[in-house]
Symmetry: C2
Subunit: 443 residues, 2 copies
Amino acid sequence: MYIVLLSGGSGKRLWPLSNEVRSKQFLKILKKDDKTYESMVQRVYRQILTIDNQANILIATSKDQVPILKSQLGEKINLSIEPFRRDTFPSILLACLYLKDIKRVDIDETISVCPVDSYVDDDFFHKLNELDEKIKDSSYNIGLIGIKPTYPSEKYGYIINENKDKQFIISNTKTNKFIEKPNITMAKELIEQGALWNGGVFCFKLKYILEVAHKYIDFIDYSDLYNKYENIEKISFDYAVLEKEKSIGAVKYIGEWKDIGTWNTLTDVMVDKSIGDVVIDEKSNNTNVINELNIPIIAMGLNDVIVAASYDGIFVSDKKESSYNKLLVEKIDNRPMFEERLWGTFEVINIFNNSLVKHIYIKKGKNISYQKHSFRKEVWTIIEGTGIFLLDGIKSDVKVGDVLTINIGSKHSIYAISDLHFIEVQLGDKLLEDDIQHYDYIW
Amino acid sequence: MYIVLLSGGSGKRLWPLSNEVRSKQFLKILKKDDKTYESMVQRVYRQILTIDNQANILIATSKDQVPILKSQLGEKINLSIEPFRRDTFPSILLACLYLKDIKRVDIDETISVCPVDSYVDDDFFHKLNELDEKIKDSSYNIGLIGIKPTYPSEKYGYIINENKDKQFIISNTKTNKFIEKPNITMAKELIEQGALWNGGVFCFKLKYILEVAHKYIDFIDYSDLYNKYENIEKISFDYAVLEKEKSIGAVKYIGEWKDIGTWNTLTDVMVDKSIGDVVIDEKSNNTNVINELNIPIIAMGLNDVIVAASYDGIFVSDKKESSYNKLLVEKIDNRPMFEERLWGTFEVINIFNNSLVKHIYIKKGKNISYQKHSFRKEVWTIIEGTGIFLLDGIKSDVKVGDVLTINIGSKHSIYAISDLHFIEVQLGDKLLEDDIQHYDYIW
């Protein structure tokens, strides 16, 4: 079995913690042990490897998530990288072709596609093995994980059983075998009939998807699809496959299952009331504070409030209202103020007229690319660690207190001998992340 | 008449907007016109000069407030500077001796002592002229401004009239001529009897205070008191004078009067719901946001909440609870992260291990003192404006993009030819404001 993790698009629903470059699955808000936090993608990846440390995992993602995925999961992860975002069906197909053509996976192999933003018990991933058996013995063409509902939710999708209490086979007789967001009366009825929540997992044989795909997309192999990817239509897996397939089954999972996509569900899984430099008084109830800034937050006498602060901004909201933040967040047109890269992290700590100050951290043994800017000068002051600075082909050792001036047009890079921190002052009329030309250089 | 404005001590009650170096009277939160905000001290100073542009104003303050007072009111203000904080009576006495001995004010002159944190109509200061008349014709020894109560407040001090509806003379027959914070029943009774709120203004002849003072303090003149000030006992004007004096009168003021010392009263006088880069949604009620950071704040669905953010921290509180912040704020032991100085302002925009980043702004035509640090190196990058840099006696012109390195022990200063902004990176084991030695230098 190959597990394909779908690491989906960015969204501002959890602004200011999530932004254009940090999707919700990368937020390190899940308590792993006393001192460390992990992100959703780290948790899911760890859970799968806990069950089977030889598990074959491929992450289907887009180009811009590669650095943060490698940073959070290690550089050896397998990635299928969409050159453009084209919804779930093309993305899953590209991943499957990557497995077939690059990884030489047999077309009879089971593929399990899983979301990376479900907060579940380890047992959830045991269900993948059950599904694998079902797909192997051709019980059905597509296998799903159905979650036993704990209450008549109006927010989830339900999958309908053909024959109550027996092996879970999705109804083909009824028009609606999938019911999205029913009202509460209907939800109660559905649960009574044995319906399950749809866990967003799809299992199938590799050859199955290849056959289905030709109905929608004209392709020869992985590289052919990759090359024409820009012109592929956006199409969802649900539309292309699930709604049309007549042979669908599910295995039932009983246990915790949450979609960490809203402030409400996110704060539900927080072990402590707060993360970061925070004081919450005793009169506050059902209030959570997440502080990524290095100034303190004091919260007093608040009920059902979420406070979140990052270098992008500060969000203070009643929890019920927090899901309606889209319009307000869209009004804010700032550049992302922090990023996690393969080599480390940076935060924009302040922006002025024609200048900008960053704190840059490069992990020991890493370097930034050899690069050039056309519109800005940069001044770096090393504040921690040691490294090697490369300026227009000339190397020099650098240490705390050294000041490096990089004029417009100068090629430059830096390599961290030990964990390296520096303050960068950018100066120029156009201070944009994309004012950058990369050059090859082997450190 | 001489008006002595008492610019009192710091306090963290309005943290993070107020801190050790910025007392509440210096917060620029009062809307002056469409675009500008003024502080309490600026408002009071402006109101007094609006009524009489020849008014004699002396500000009694402590050493550490001198830079911000000059920055907000101009460099030509008259100051009586306490070398140490010693409560209101020594402070008022020192100011009076300053007037007598330094300014050569006649001892028959009226002195009106006013707080700087009362939010009042201009008419309040007209009342000072009425009081001046009363003191001149010796109607009483001490004159007060009594505010006509608008509701039976349990928070204020009341002054009791001897003879209802006639000239307001403070009762001598009753034991309590001043009643602090009565319960609501008593407050209603007091109002019924014609009592007024105590506006915190004291008027008297200069010679009066000199006579009274000798009962408590042994002094010859201004310089004598100044020199022994450290050893003077802390004693309040209320205790030393008001409670013992039998001849006290008041003039009645009818109009707005608020003490801007709590979040509740402060937000009461805010014309707009928010200051700074803030979005408040329509579902929020009675919610105010003050944002001094340059990242946006979004507030949603909040009721009766105050949000305040500065470089010192972020405060989010139910308005009723906000007055109990003292214990929580005291737990926070940060250095003040922003300061307003005579020459301009600075903010600490981030702190790391053994390094610290400041944004420093120097007003056109100003300079910082010629100074030296024993424990830190500094790197300055000019980001806006032009100036003259002085390093160990050698001057050089500086402009945007210039990088100035100041090693430990180097004497340095900078003069702003135009409004000058630079980023300072401090490096060292001890990064404290008081690691500074000043040297004389005439620019």
